[in-house]
Symmetry: D2
Subunit: 259 residues, 4 copies
């Protein structure tokens, strides 16, 4: 079911949050505490913004806990906004293209959750991706399809675009009486958005903490001091725009099928 962290703040080496904390994301890859999957060993990925217009990506199919390259990169890469993700696959193959984060149009996206009934709904969900973005579909996950659909749904307003796609997908899973979990992060190098949403099922865990220098959003706390972490409520989006304090609002999902 995956675990992830998203950071925005001062420029720091990625190791600060990916490898060094007591219950770092790399520790969670071998033993997560709040995840359906105790082991998140089906690949991992880093996405980061720096001096280049497009974010960098490093994705690998090996477990994060034994990857020497990851250790080096986390010490040497510095960023003011980065994503890191460890994967527990829910049916799609272990390939780099199926590892998170995904990058496109200057945006990064990563996801923890699943679309219930994916094999049956895949065609309909892939149909949400506009033609001009379809060549960017290089993997086969539900997550990448959701990202490309969101990019195509008016990414200038990322909360509205995500709401539109979640509305459509919620309606589809309702039809086939399946669950849908979507705990995801989206960023463009400046602004960071984190969604915690589900229908027909419990939502996956999501926490954040914020200071004047930085905001950190995590699937589960990376240290033992849980009092420092705020739970993102169900069906909420955390909006952390550059230069403003983070705020929570409801995910704007229109339940088409609820009528």
């Amino acid at each position: 079911m995956c675990r992830w962290i998203a950071y925005r703040g001062d420029t720091i080496p990625l190791c600060h949050y990916v490898t060094e904390p007591a219950h770092s994301l790399v520790s969670q890859s071998i033993q997560a505490l709040e995840s359906t999957a105790g082991t998140n060993g089906d690949g991992f990925g880093l996405g980061w913004y720096d001096h280049q217009p497009e974010p960098g990506l490093y994705r690998e199919i090996r477990p994060a806990w034994s990857d020497e390259n990851l250790r080096y990169l986390c010490r040497h890469l510095r960023s003011h906004l980065f994503f890191a993700h460890v994967r527990a696959a829910t049916g799609t193959p272990i390939t780099r293209q199926n590892c998170h984060p995904f990058a496109g149009s200057g945006w990064l996206f990563m996801h923890n959750g699943f679309v219930g009934g994916w094999p049956r709904l895949r065609r309909r969900i892939e149909a949400l991706i506009p033609d001009e973005l379809f060549p960017s579909r290089v993997g086969t996950t539900d997550s990448e399809a959701l990202f490309l659909a969101i990019l195509g749904a008016g990414i200038d307003d990322p909360v509205a675009a995500t709401g539109r796609v979640l509305s459509q997908v919620s309606s589809m899973v309702d039809e086939v009486k399946q669950p849908f979990r979507f705990t995801a992060a989206l960023a463009n190098g400046h602004d960071l958005y984190a969604f915690r949403y589900s229908i027909n099922d419990a939502a996956n865990s999501l926490y954040y903490r914020e200071s004047s220098e930085e905001i950190l959003v995590v699937s589960e706390p990376i240290d033992r001091d849980h009092s420092r972490w705020i739970t993102v409520p169900d069906n909420s989006v955390l909006i952390a725009r550059h230069g403003t304090k983070a705020r929570l609002r409801e995910v704007p999902v229109l339940r088409l099928s609820a009528a």
Copy 2:
């Protein structure tokens, strides 16, 4: 552009043709002679029939020339009908799911060639795959899509089914003024079919040799004695049904757009 071999005959260890000949398929992975791509190092695969109803598959993203597992498997696996393939990618990612052969419904398929304009035509070609086979689409290549379309086009008559799909795809590439090369093998454990077809381009090389005990079809000869090999003519299919001598016939393509 890939190189491949297909064998049917007495049960033999795969090494006889995959690793041992002077210009074996594994040698061709590092230096092919008749291929657009001199190096075929973008993964490889084996598919074989034995005592099980479904064929076995071993696919790997490393180059064939350095894979220790391949050496062991070729000595220890025995089969009366097997495929082996070394890949030179034409744009799609290097994943096991994008390596050949592909297996489904008891059939094996492998391909050397490409659909020109694939990023533009992909949706239309994927639409040829029937819903019930779409969950088997685990990779992203044009080759796998063609195979699933052929499976769905009436595989009981594999030449007709392939002809139908080639007709449809030929019409699509004509529309977008692109080439299409299809040099491919198809088998069901008893019967072996090998196609050499192209439009708007030269066809990829294909040869075979036949004895009373066996038939071997290859992208290029695996030894220096070229006199032993018969060229499969352009736009032909070699039909090697169990218990009968191989014969050649024209690929039954209806050029819809030629009107």
Copy 3:
């Protein structure tokens, strides 16, 4: 710390014991019950005897639980004597050459345990490998070094050879006040030996069950019915020679340093 199984008996597909049981070795790769390491995701391997004089090997650095090739091979490979191993690394790199089993001189070997103080003792233990076997040292584990030392210590009597090497290594770890765990299997295509030994530490778990048709030795039971399994006692070797009932004897270790 690894988990493994060793089988000798009628010729069967490997899936019978590697992938199909409720708590199969592949299940143990993601969640072992009696191992120090709950997750054994640092690579895996198969070794098997068949019609060839030398055993086959398939070793891979990915976790066993997600390897499609392993599933196919376990259904298609048949053997009368095979080893399967899932690895939890204890410091040496994740490479195929460091995955078990190891093959040499017609023998297979696999190990669960470790030599305490390996970085300090490595040179002395590697010095136990005779010159003529040293080119076979293709990895960097303590396990492979122990195997090559045993091969060089008179493998015609494998229990005595192993006893000799364990005596020497026990003396070395005593010197540096380190533990040593050695739960290992050794086979030559006919005879199967399984050791459970440790000094300065508890021994890793080992069980077996035997019928008229077969013997199966496992790190932990592969089903829920623990009453069917016999514990191999500490410091014992299970000797299962071809055509005779298995018997237990003490591992013939001479504690040189105990004086």
Copy 4:
């Protein structure tokens, strides 16, 4: 036989020389022009210095030409001194630990060449590595052994240390009548050394070019304009210390066995 480049100068993204030139190192991975091995597809590596005291490393067993991570890292990593290497293995396994560059004690090292008779000489050459550095021997190549021997031979004077090790190894290969090729680079974050040496064989190609801003040393020119490149003569070391113009001197090898 490998190809490599070494750069020191202004801080630049690695893509400038690793991926962008017409005959870049990545192009050489699939088709080198002056190498015994036309294909250098047996893994690759990057080593770079930045704000951290120790260099970064990224090594991978896949061919460089198809690695998406390499493309991203070359655009996003910036360095004033970096190494890049594409490997053509000469007998040792394809593992990350056997890929170049190697890092230790703040130094980077990479090698193109081989020690003839390595399986016979390996023990004697590994014996040149001091005990305190032996735990750093995580791979099995001749190259890594040479590097650790050089580190142990007085790395404060890297030319003398290298000369000492080359003298010893030259004497060993003379004894067993084998060739030895050593075209290698060594750096500490400030100073760059490039050796071109061989005995009983021709030396591998090596070129450099220098401007007021930078020095680039390459196995073969990365562009078509060969007039810009100076050949490093046989048995020479190029010494490019920080803040001084590069100069050539003879490799200080004492041929012990020549007497």
